[in-house]
Amino acid sequence: MPRKVGYAHGYDDDYDDNYDDDYGNYDDDYDDSEDAYRQNHDLKGNTSSQKLPLARETARKPIVWSCSICTFDNEDSALVCEICCVYKESFVKSGKEANGTGNNIAAASVASRTVKGQPEKLPVKVADKELISADSYGKASTPYERGKTTNSASTAQKVDKVVMVQKEIRLSEPFDTVSSHLKKVNLSDTSVTTKGSSESLPSCSRELNLGDRPSSSNSVSDEQYKPDKWMQFDEEKEALRQLNLAIVGHVDSGKSTLSGRLLHLLGRISKRDMHKNEKEAKEKGKGSFSYAWAMDESAEERERGITMTVAVAYFDSNKYHVVVLDSPGHKDFVPNMISGATQADAAILVVDACTGSFEAGMDGQVPGIAGVGQTKEHAQLVRSFGVDQLIVAVNKMDAVGYSKQRYDFIKAQLGVFLRSCGFRDSSVSWVPLSAIENQNLIEPATDACLTSWYQGKCLLDAIDSLQLPSRDISKPLIMPICDVIRTQSMGQVAACGKLETGAVKTGSKVILMPGCEIATVRSIEHDMNACDVARAGDNVAVILQGINPSKLIPGGVICHPEFPVLMASCLELKILVLDVAVPILIGSQVEFHIHHAKAAARIVKIVSLLDQKTGKATKSAPRFLKAKQSAIVEVSLDGAVCAQEFSKCRALGRVFLRASGNTVAVGVVTRLVDPV
């Protein structure tokens, strides 16, 4: 089992203090990716055919040894296996290695320096120049590494750490947050502070993760995949890129009204429709729902005045094509929210500022009984969707007279919780607004009470300031199907969803899992407009032909014909247990959610308990799992689902376990026990 470079701790190891270590890895990717891509492209034209000597490539591989028991690729310097604590074979056999540990550490640091040599294997070529600068950067950073980490953590993680420091400095964060010797690294190494080279590094280290992926039982390894030319981004043509934005929050906090209002202000709802909604809402005696009705279209939802399934809408901001995923807030519809909003890149958490409503959102609806409100549950879920940028929209400020006191109170209370979820303060922005009175939505506020103390961004600016996450276009196509639309008259069938990796164009052949059916893409639609190509990150409807429509179901995955994803009904997961009253036992029955699929499942084995900080196994086969513990467990599902190890594909590797109406655990897939 090859090690997952850079993710040795898993993304969900901990939701508190040390989240920086874990989530930090993401941030680097997200922040710098776009620029990095551009750069790659600027240089790409003449470098795509360039190949570095093979000898160099092999020399640069990190030195690892594979555990005899669990086959995990451990670092050379580690004497025992990280997973199962078995001694290194050669160490046991001869004892020669006993004095070799010092060498190993040295070797590891060499590996950390050379580890960036990998990209030449990859389809997107990195220019030589960049490679050198990356190398020099790596060298420059080693004194820091040697000084700070004597015990060798994962090498790539070290690199990432340094990268993170670098980024913080670049973003002109307060210098006191950066410890002094880190500053020294930066100052001593002036060559890397130039923007170009500092950005090339994250892209390198990210691609290292891709390149280092293990070749699985899948006969064709993903590494052999070469993207075609048409898949790459066309800079000039595509000014705006897609951002999937989930709108989440407690029931009745005004999510749909906020989205409806945004769409209306940005001219996406015609006057006629708006007028119709207003009239109908008034007739039903629900005047305040007129904007929400732009999103809630079904009779049932309008009748009850709540959203039940995720609504999808589109608008354009100054920077992005925004795909709004308006999710339901009601407790019973959290499963719908999970299956509809997993594709989000960023999220708006809507909070009701009214007295009592905010508290209900935090601590559950029934006063006196400790519970988890959907503000909390959604925030945790959204974090485990992999979203790390959050806009907190403090709504209904008009109801509390735009009071600064109330706003500060909410910010303090919720801020603590968000931090414990793993959101970084710097990636959470706070916007006080009133959807109903149109304050601070697309233009700065006009109300004197609000402007007297708030001069920050309005919501639309906050959306524009979000960063796009990295898009893996260089990997084979994977598109989880979120929804299926059938057009009776034409006999057409369309699959909606977000492309997680790769790209697809009209006429491409794709394979549909489960079922292994080959289909042809007839056309692609985005917001009712036909387009030729869709790339990773795009939320589109793909109209397929040559397929039995009944085989197309939400929860399936559309893949590249040569690289179908695997199916499994028994999975090994690394989970973090959330605040649950009833402990998780062997045999506990849960509802299992993965991308857009769900199934009934039960825990068949609790393999080991993991330490929160180090991610090492502390206890094998414990009796049960309590709140806040993390562990390796095995689950068996009542039907196979498409899944993939988290290290291979993040979108197909995140799971959510729910029981008796609450989310009990979030986690990632570490192994498919019975891949089909």
Binding site: E297, E300, H330, D332, F333, G340, V582, P622, R623, S660
Partner: protein, 378 residues
């Protein structure tokens, strides 16, 4: 079950003659009959005869045979019990020692001879012949796109129908697709309802779902009943109850049975007691984890210290083919009872029993905390 004849010594040998009446009785018989017992029943066997001319002639003969049991099969959907074993009766058609499979049918008496009638077997016998405490309840568990129809008897829960359709989510103009898909889904559920629910047997019908699916379905049901003039539904409107469930999967059945208004309906039945006992176990586990344990190893560890207050055990542990294993569990149950503890034997055909079976089939609430349990591996 009707007890026709009983001739036995407790903890000794004996014979019992029984007549199954309901579906539940097959389940009891299944639990009662172990490998090694002798069962006598009327059966039909196809006999081949060679004619003088050399041709062959098959004939079905009705016989009364006694077999020594080697395997027992129970089909929960059809409530059929088949007993396979070697013939012990002398007759013209089947040789002694030849294999034969008996099928136990409703209203046909059969006799069981055991070498040892232990306390568990006597308990089952007693329960099976107790005519009171019958709760026939039907539950329709649904969520958007998935519905399951269950019949809950005294000691078994049977899944009668499962309807699964994919319902598209709202998407602008495709909203009509959502409404029609939902209507089609309800129509299928209604068909299953008409096929499986007989109000002369079922006391009441519970419609359970998360969200508003249950209300939507009820409205649809009454509307359709009016339209199609379905008398059974219109006349029994008062016996249709709504309840909240957290999902449409089978394990949510537990939530439905736990809810107070349903609990009242099934109060005295075995199902209700099991649901309560399991709930107590989980409450204890969350409040004071060192006073609850599960898994054979942990339970025995606690039993050695006489710590067991309440023992929860599923009946399929007694159905073990290994006689020694069964004896071990029987002894455990008896000694817990002797030391003043209570024992709940869960029917593995109920949702709660199924859940316990997943939790290794055995669990216990303890008199005093045993923190050492944490150090013991599962």
């Amino acid at each position: 079950m009707q007890l026709i004849r009983k001739n036995l010594v407790p903890n000794g040998p004996g014979t019992v003659k029984l007549k199954p009446v309901e579906d539940d009785d097959m389940w009891h018989a299944y639990n009662l009959i172990c490998t090694g017992d002798k069962v006598e029943a009327t059966t039909v066997r196809k006999v081949l005869r060679e004619m003088a001319s050399g041709g062959r002639d098959a004939e079905r003969v009705k016989l009364k045979l006694e077999v020594k049991v080697e395997a027992v099969e129970y089909d929960k959907e059809g409530s059929v019990l088949r007993i396979r074993g070697k013939n012990l009766t002398v007759n013209d058609h089947v040789k002694i020692g030849q294999f034969h499979t008996l099928e136990i049918e409703p209203h046909r008496p059969f006799a069981i001879t055991k070498d040892i009638w232990d306390s568990i077997a006597l308990d089952i016998l007693h329960q099976a012949c107790d005519p009171s405490a019958s709760a026939d309840l039907s539950v329709i568990l649904m969520q958007e796109g998935l519905a399951q129809l269950f019949l809950i008897g005294r000691s078994i829960t049977t899944a009668r129908a499962r309807i699964e359709t994919s319902i598209p989510r709202k998407h602008g103009p495709a909203i009509a697709g959502y409404e029609t898909a939902l209507k089609k889904f309800f129509e299928n559920v209604l068909q299953a309802w008409l096929k499986h629910i007989d109000f002369s047997i079922v006391q009441c019908v519970v419609i359970a779902s998360p969200g508003f699916t249950k209300d939507q379905f009820r409205d649809y049901l009454f509307l359709e009943a009016q339209r199609q003039d379905l008398r059974t539904i219109i006349e029994n409107k008062s016996r249709i109850i709504l309840a909240h469930a957290t999902s449409g999967y089978k394990h949510s059945l537990k939530d439905v049975l736990e809810s107070p208004n349903i609990m009242n309906l099934i109060k005295d039945t075995k199902a209700a007691k099991e649901v309560r006992a399991l709930k107590d176990f989980f409450t204890m586990l969350s409040n004071d984890p060192s006073r609850a344990c599960y898994g054979p190893r942990h339970v025995e560890f606690a039993h050695d210290r006489l710590a067991i207050q309440t023992l929860l055990i599923t009946d399929n542990l007694f159905r073990n083919a290994d006689i020694a294993e069964r004896q071990r569990y029987v002894r455990l149950v008896e000694s817990v009872k002797d030391s003043g503890g209570t024992v709940h034997i869960f029917s593995s055909m109920h949702a709660s029993g199924e859940q316990l079976a997943q939790l290794t089939g055995i669990a216990a609430l303890l008199r005093f905390p045993l923190p050492e349990l944490d150090d013991l591996e599962m």
